[in-house]
């Protein structure tokens, strides 16, 4: 669970069933467990009006557990990029009464939230729960390139190659933490690189 350090650093809750007519879940990897845990607290028939979009990730687990919830629809996607057109289409056609639940890594939650914000859902109206890896999606403030799955502090920008301090400063608009050059004065100075976001 991420600790609150500065105001922009997102904090996540625990999924809870909301009143609504349709329920859209997006999850990756261990995020599936947030859904199955919530299912134990959901009223009977809750998943009859639910759609789950799931990215199993490399380990490929939890699909059976989600199938067992018997949602109206279960869509398995290989990556966030691959589910994006479907997500946008769903939100474009949706009506008020649709509730959104995001669970899993911060990268998944942040990117799904970014799309949902554009569709007009307030970020406080979404249910979120962080599960699994602490890996961060990072924007290099210098070249603006985004590096996915950053686990170290500092981290190298995959676009311009600068060594960046991964800040807690987060942008909902970009769905990314900000990375700032850590050795701008003397590029030969390389601080120890630690596994900070396993």
């Amino acid at each position: 669970m991420a600790a609150k350090t500065i105001i922009s650093r997102p904090i996540y809750g625990t999924l809870s069933p909301q009143p609504g007519k349709h329920h859209l879940f997006l999850a990756d990897a261990e995020g599936a467990l947030a859904i199955t845990d919530m299912a134990a607290r959901a009223p009977a028939g809750f998943f009859d009006g639910a759609e789950i979009v799931f990215i199993p990730g490399p380990e490929g687990k939890y699909v059976a557990a989600l199938e067992a919830l018997k949602p109206a629809q279960l869509h398995i996607a290989p990556s966030f990029a691959s589910l994006l057109p479907r997500l946008k289409q769903t939100l474009t056609n949706a009506h008020m009464g649709l509730r959104l639940y995001l669970a899993g890594t911060e990268g998944l939650i942040g990117q799904a939230m970014q799309v949902a914000l554009e569709a007009g859902i307030d970020h406080t109206s979404m249910q979120t729960e962080h599960r699994g890896s602490l890996a961060r999606r990072m924007q290099c403030v210098h070249c603006k390139g985004i590096t996915e799955n950053v686990t170290t502090q500092p981290a190298t920008c995959s676009h311009c190659g600068l060594l960046l301090l991964v800040r807690d400063h987060y942008s909902r608009r970009l769905a990314a933490f900000q990375g700032v050059c850590i050795n701008a004065e003397d590029r030969s100075e390389i601080p120890p690189i630690e596994e900070a976001f396993p």
């Binding site: 909301q18 009143p19 609504g20 007519k21 349709h22 939100l91 474009t92 949706a94 009506h95 008020m96 009464g97 649709l98 509730r99 569709a119 007009g120 859902i121 307030d122 406080t124 109206s125």
Partner: protein
Amino acid sequence: MSTGTTKLDVVVSDVVTVNDLVTRFHFRRRDGGLLPTFSGGAHVVVEMRDGERTRLNPYSLMGSPLDTREYTISVRRDDVGRGGSLFMHNQVRPGLEMVVSYPVNLFSLDLRAKKHLMLAGGIGITPFMAQTAQLAGEGGNFELHYTCRTASLGTYADVLSERYGRRVRLYHDDREERIDLDRLLSSQPLGTHLYVCGPAGMINWVRDRAAALGWPPETVHFEHFAAPQPGLPFEVTLAVSGKTIRVGEQQSLLEAIEAAGVDPPYLCRGGVCGQCETNVISCDGKFIHNDHWLSAEEHRSGRKIMPCVSRFEGRSLVLER
């Protein structure tokens, strides 16, 4: 003392009878300048000097926010109320110098919304007059559903229909026309915000249905100025100022505190904004809470009261004021 607001010296520039119950008042600055800008949904508190007595009532600004040469309000006559609306109807004439507060908006549009769905009941139409003008000027997407008793009491229904055509839908009680609320709420595109202004029963009905149908609370906006209700007189001790005062039958607690020379903060005087929230030091009796500010739990706790609209019945009440 009104928090964060300054007063405006105005003159009544026009008084227009709208229908049997509603009269419209136009105010301009006495110095001829422009009035402060406001956004749709804002209200002003109008000071009514009626002989010995001063009433301070909030009214929504109903003119276009694009025009600040004048402020306009519409006042529905309430023959059994505490007299504010009767004063406006019977005493206020063009040329009268009056004082109004700076505008305050506790019912503003959320301009991030993809669409604005507005529900008005009766005189609750007034903030929507300004909001629709604001949105129309910006090409905003809105739909207004307006319930009135009869066509002749449908204040501004004709103006709105003429201005906005199919974006306005009217429902007349005498013709048994009713909003199909569940269907309306369920057919709105994602990103719609809901605004409701009207009688308390209507607001509660709409809020309840919206919550049940999955509208997040952030998307539901409402405004209901509770007029202070008359009630049994009661005594109050103001611990900080060391005074014991009596609240008259037709007087609000806030008005009685002010009449005693104590100057508590206020803004809306309608139980909405929270400025006059007052701590209760001790009490022996029961509260009659009429505000929309405190939570149900706070109402039960007996530790807080909103003196603008709420009253007390019992042996003793000591306030931290």
